[in-house]
């Protein structure tokens, strides 16, 4: 099934249609067909290699984009889901558990969006409540107890801005994770799969290796939110997306992430298996690297990495 096209993909689609037309009308004209195929390929590469930040945000939010559980299914085995924060409830926007990847046993913590209305009611559009962050911390403690590395899959528009979330102190649940993750005595790997929505993403994102998919974004505020405040209208989201420097390449340049995981041309939704293979490879590579480090080095380097973040003059 071809995924739903985005606005900026229209010219590509039209050319594809022309090519199909040509093939069905004059299948014997192999010369013209091959010329057109070549043109189409060039156009495809040109379009996807030069995506604007806003176009990447759209890909990161594409309704067919593989979500955390899709990667779980393709990269991990023996997954046992562990529910609940032992306090108030179980946050379905943040499924988590123990599993195996390659030869490694691990704890896996995910942010999961829904594919349709019913799923989104369950998953709350991938916006966790405080219970999600507290469950995450509970499982990180479990990881520490059994010396298992922690892997987190980040994909959230942001922590949930609701009445219940505030009453149960969503800010505190995130802040405590920021503090506790810094000292957690096992390796932590985070992968931003799609949306890295501000504190909601960072709340499971303090890690030794922060990886980002090629078309994912990581931002202090959504482009729409930023546009509404600074441009006074959400329609300026594309400008805000550019100004915020939120792409994987921008974050690499700012030295805020440690690696970019390549996606299939056009985005992970064009070939989920290929995307998952790249994610699996990147995780295993990171695990191999991190397991060689002594615990004091691991913790010192984690601290030093975040300590260096920030640009100022004095």
């Amino acid at each position: 099934m071809t995924p739903l096209p985005l606005d900026f993909e229209q010219p590509l689609l039209e050319l594809e249609k022309c090519l199909d037309d040509l093939i069905s009308r004059t299948p014997e004209d192999t010369h013209r067909i091959s010329v057109m195929q070549e043109k189409l390929e060039l156009m495809r590469v040109d379009l996807y290699k030069n995506l604007t930040p806003w176009q990447r945000v759209q890909i990161a939010r594409h309704p067919s984009r593989p979500y955390a559980l899709d990667y779980l299914e393709r990269c991990f085995t023996d997954f046992v889901e562990l529910h609940g924060d032992r306090c108030f409830g179980d946050d379905k926007a943040m499924p988590a558990g123990i599993a195996r990847i390659g030869k490694y046993r691990c704890v896996i913590i995910m942010q999961q969006k829904g594919r349709n209305v019913k799923e989104n009611v369950l998953r709350n559009f991938g916006s966790p409540h405080p219970e999600g962050y507290r469950k995450a911390l509970r499982l990180m403690r479990l990881a520490e107890k059994f010396s298992l590395p922690v892997i987190t899959f980040i994909d959230t528009p942001g922590a949930y801005p609701g009445i219940g979330a505030e009453e149960r102190h969503i800010a505190e649940s995130i802040a405590v994770n920021l503090r506790e993750m810094m000292l957690l005595k096992v390796p932590i790997i985070s992968v931003i799969l799609g949306e890295g929505g501000s504190g909601g993403a960072l709340g499971i994102g303090v890690s030794d290796k922060s990886l980002m998919l090629e078309n994912a974004y990581y931002s202090v505020i959504s482009p729409e939110g930023c546009a509404a405040i600074l441009w006074k209208h959400r329609k300026h989201a594309p400008e805000a997306a550019a100004a915020l420097k939120l792409t994987a390449q921008d974050l690499t340049d700012l030295k805020l992430i440690d690696g970019i995981v390549p996606e299939p041309l056009g985005g992970a939704h064009h070939n989920a298996s290929m995307a998952a293979t790249a994610v699996r490879h990147a995780i295993i590579e990171a695990l191999e690297e991190l397991e060689k480090k002594s615990l004091p080095d691991l913790l010192e380097e984690r601290y030093a990495k975040f300590r260096k973040m920030g640009i100022f003059s004095e």
């Binding site: 801005p161 441009w231 805020l256 920030g310």
Partner: protein, 280 residues
């Protein structure tokens, strides 16, 4: 055709009665008119209804520390424009405007001080400067005073007021949340006290990082404290917010903060807490 022309009467500049600005202030809560000297004497708290007006970092420091004991650090550290942020207003221009308007270089003052004879690290945010938003400078200065306090084995006190993370510095601002919280993790690991004081308003990324990590969390009366802005929450919830939602009183009721402390009592309570948590 006009025969008579209206004589033009000009008296130069319009005459105005000269009342120096800011001599009297109207209390936004009880509408009382308060003379500025009376207000200052009362720590910027309305004598009639106890409404807490905002305080500059400088004023706040003087209400808390032993006289003359505050030694400021990193006072010259200033923001650059790492993203070359271009919006409706460029970040560089905003910084210059606020520096001129407030006479401040950035939104937090940090340093060492004595409180009741106890040496402490102190960070005080100043809401006048770009809503004391958390950017690289604020994050770095707070991190440094926390680290300095860990090294000196002294308590840290952070007085927060902030609109949240600073958009103009993008993900760099976001990471200040991890950086400051990480420094607090080490301070805490060294078993040193952190007292966090929340003032009006403390929101967003500041609430979701250092501000709520105190061993003891105090708040000024009626301060607004929360993660998301009330307008956003109302839009999403499609219902009215509970009474007093996101006020210090609401959070005391819901178990986030330890105590609400009126400004006039803050120094004394700090001294008592320090005397109980710090071995002399």
């Amino acid at each position: 055709m006009t025969i008579f022309r209206r004589p033009s009467l000009k008296f130069g500049a319009k005459r105005k009665r000269e009342i120096p600005e800011g001599l009297w202030k109207k209390c936004p809560q009880c509408s009382e008119m308060i003379h500025h000297l009376a207000l200052e004497e009362n720590l910027n708290v309305c004598p009639k209804c106890e409404h807490h007006f905002s305080l500059s970092a400088k004023e706040r420091i003087s209400t808390i520390v032993d006289e003359g004991s505050f030694i400021e650090m990193d006072s010259e550290m200033s923001s650059v424009d790492p993203l070359e942020f271009q919006g409706v207003a460029a970040y560089k221009e905003r910084l210059e405007t606020y520096q001129k308007k407030t006479g401040l270089i950035e939104a937090v003052r940090t340093g060492n001080a004595m409180i009741g004879g106890y040496p402490v690290g102190l960070a005080v945010m100043d809401f006048q400067f770009l809503a004391a938003s958390l950017g690289s400078v604020v994050g770095e200065k707070i991190t440094r005073i926390i680290e300095e306090s860990t090294a000196a084995r002294q308590p840290i006190i952070i007085i927060s007021a902030s609109g949240g993370a600073r958009m103009y510095e993008g993900a760099l601002s976001l990471m200040q949340m991890a950086k400051t919280s990480g420094a607090l993790a080490r301070h805490s690991e060294a078993r040193l006290p952190f007292i966090s004081i929340l003032t009006h308003p403390t929101m967003g990324g500041v609430t979701a990082s250092f501000a709520v990590l105190g061993d003891v969390i105090l708040a000024e009366p009626k301060s607004m404290i929360g993660f998301a802005g009330p307008r956003v929450i109302r839009e999403i919830a499609h219902q009215d917010l509970p009474e007093g939602f996101q006020t210090a009183e609401f959070l005391l009721e819901h178990g986030l903060i330890d105590e609400i402390v009126p400004r006039a009592q803050m120094r004394n309570i700090l001294i008592t807490i320090l005397s109980l948590l710090v071995e002399k």
